[in-house]
């Protein structure tokens, strides 16, 4: 029954126009960035490398597909949660508002299977959105700008990664990005379980992301104890894959915390949904 209803959920997601907003927005945003960089990227690169020109000499094409994927992932990872929440935040509350949750709940399918299928469908949608982001940022970036060594400016300084040592980093990088977006998706579904209107959970998810981002960026001692446990702190953990050497422990710590969020939000959702009175 879980798989049958997951199939149902995917059909519903595919039939809803709002499901395509994320894909459209990513195509537009990434397309605009790629075209702009193609047109005027050299001056942008010159501006960034100007401070190093007295000590370093750059040869080859710095502005390449690998750098574009890095820039795009860094720019979008904080904004993509809105596109995810737009669909996942509506999965339970949207049906409650429409009255279709009542129709479903009168069928011989357990509440856990209803919610489980929504979580699975949400995870598949988030995966497809991440895949599309990867295709647009990395695939189209490589096609437009070609491959090359990646120069990254980290806290420790300038890191130069050879072209043949990059692809696996992006593979795991987009994997980490997916995990953080999955945590956002689970959080929005959790909010959705508590609500009977579709806008509330979407706005609440974004409010939490903004709040956590602010707490994470403020250097206030009372926030310092909180920061390592915030979801948003670990949304940029993919960047660690572009350090030399790769800090495996730090990445594993991020994975554990993101998984903890996913399991926690899913657990709360199941607990609440199984006792929820369906009054709409």
């Amino acid at each position: 029954m879980l798989l049958k209803n997951t199939w149902n959920e995917l059909i519903k997601i595919l039939a809803k126009p709002r499901s395509y907003i994320g894909f459209g927005a990513l195509t537009l945003l990434i397309g605009v960035i790629l075209v702009a960089m193609k047109a005027d990227g050299q001056s942008f690169i010159s501006f960034v490398t100007a401070s190093f020109e007295q000590t370093l000499s750059f040869n080859g094409e710095i502005l390449n597909g690998n750098l574009m994927a890095f820039v795009i992932l860094q720019m979008l990872i904080i904004h993509v949660p809105l596109l995810v929440a737009l669909v996942t935040g509506d999965l339970v509350s949207g049906e409650a508002a429409m009255g279709t949750l009542r129709m479903m709940a009168t069928k011989p399918i357990s509440r856990s299977a209803i919610l489980g299928s929504k979580l699975l469908a949400g995870a598949i949608y988030t995966f497809l959105l991440t895949l599309w982001m990867a295709f647009m940022a990395y695939g189209v970036g490589q096609w437009m700008f070609g491959a090359g060594d990646l120069i990254v400016l980290n806290n420790d300084g300038l890191v130069i990664i050879p072209a043949d040592d990059i692809m696996w980093r992006y593979f795991y990088g987009f994997g980490l990005a997916y995990l953080s977006l999955l945590a956002v998706a689970t959080m929005s579904i959790c909010f959705s379980v508590f609500s009977d209107n579709s806008i509330g959970p979407i706005v609440s998810t974004m409010a939490v992301i903004i709040l956590f981002t602010i707490i994470g960026s403020l250097d206030v001692s009372s926030f310092n104890t909180l920061q390592p446990f915030l979801l948003t702190t670990h949304m940029s953990s993919w960047r660690s894959l572009f350090e030399m050497p790769v800090p495996i422990d730090s990445i594993l710590n991020s994975i554990y915390i993101l998984l903890f969020h996913i399991v926690g939000f899913a657990g709360i959702s199941f607990w609440r949904f199984n006792k929820k009175d369906i009054n709409t």
Partner: protein, 304 residues
């Protein structure tokens, strides 16, 4: 011997401080068309929601097909088709696609041709591919009935299925329910706030008000064996009242005004009263009669 399909005892449900259902009890036998009657806000939908485990009852026992709904939810729900309040579907999907989604989780395999057959049965042939958002209220109700029937359930629960329908739509739904009962032997629970509707379709009924069961039994017995409430319009109600007290000692006048006299009496004795008034030279302008239960129900609705 009758087989009890639904047994509800001492059902209670509150929403914070508001007690929507205080004490509802009734039972439904196999092949009954059972009227679940009560004014708006009586607790009908809340009771039906409890029966289908959409909401959790605070107290009471609900047994469907002899099983507790809470411990055997899937088994019980696979034998039930229902529409609670109004049929809501995915407006961006077609009628057929909506049914297909619900059929997949209905607990039994429903083929494509069976789905088309059920759409034909409810009169939606030719509209299968049309989006739900384009449907009229009557068509939505028909689709709701189709989803309730598609997995061939033993018990069908319809919550005010004729609300908002035009007269022809009401007749169609009524005929459909009778067809399901007579031709397919289904047990039907039909909730309504209209006594006349229940009288036309149901064989048994329960009346609830303010969250409590008031009366349960055969529709025929409850409506036809009861006393009548009669209203006589007379030229002299004082004299009429005196005649009643003298000649019909067991009759109590419930309402009296300048030209109207209202009292409760057995149907068979109304003619005797009229004869008595005429013999005593009282002019009768009109006689209105209502069944006691009908009168009681109308008062209940008026009181809200």
């Amino acid at each position: 011997m009758n087989e009890t399909v639904v047994s509800v005892k001492g059902l209670k449900k509150s929403f914070k401080a508001f007690q929507a259902v205080k004490n509802v009890s009734f039972s439904v036998q196999k092949n009954d068309v059972f009227g679940f009657l009560g004014p708006n806000g009586a607790g009908k939908s809340t009771s039906l929601r409890c029966m289908l485990s959409l909401i959790k009852a605070d107290a009471g026992e609900i047994k469907l097909f002899g099983d507790d709904i809470r411990s055997n939810r899937s088994k019980v729900l696979s034998k039930i088709g229902s529409i609670i309040e109004k049929p809501d579907f995915y407006k961006y999907l077609s009628a057929y696609k909506n049914l297909e989604l619900l059929a997949r989780i209905s607990g039994s395999s429903v083929s494509k041709s069976e789905l088309y057959d059920i759409l034909d049965f409810v009169g939606l042939q030719g509209r299968e591919k049309h989006k739900f958002r384009t449907f009229s209220h009557g068509m939505k109700q028909r689709l709701g009935i189709a989803q309730a029937l598609m997995h061939n359930p033993e018990l069908i629960i319809l919550d005010e299925p004729t609300t908002g329908l035009d007269p022809q739509g009401i007749v169609d739904i009524r005929n459909l329910i009778l067809k399901l009962s007579k031709e397919q032997g289904k047990t039907v629970i039909l909730s309504s706030h209209q006594l006349a509707e229940i009288e036309m379709i149901a064989n048994r009924m329960v009346i609830i008000n303010k969250g409590e069961t008031l009366i349960e039994g055969s529709v025929h017995d409850l409506l036809n064996s009861s006393n009548m409430v009669v209203k006589f319009q007379l030229d002299d109600t004082n004299r009429g009242e005196k005649l009643l007290v003298n000649d019909f000692a067991d009759v109590n006048v419930s309402k009296a005004s300048a030209n109207e006299l209202e009292f409760e009496i057995e149907k068979i004795r109304i003619a005797d009263v009229a004869e008595c008034f005429v013999k005593n030279n009282l002019r009768i302008y009109s006689i209105e009669q209502k069944r006691k239960l009908e009168d009681y129900f109308i008062n209940m609705i008026e009181e809200g």
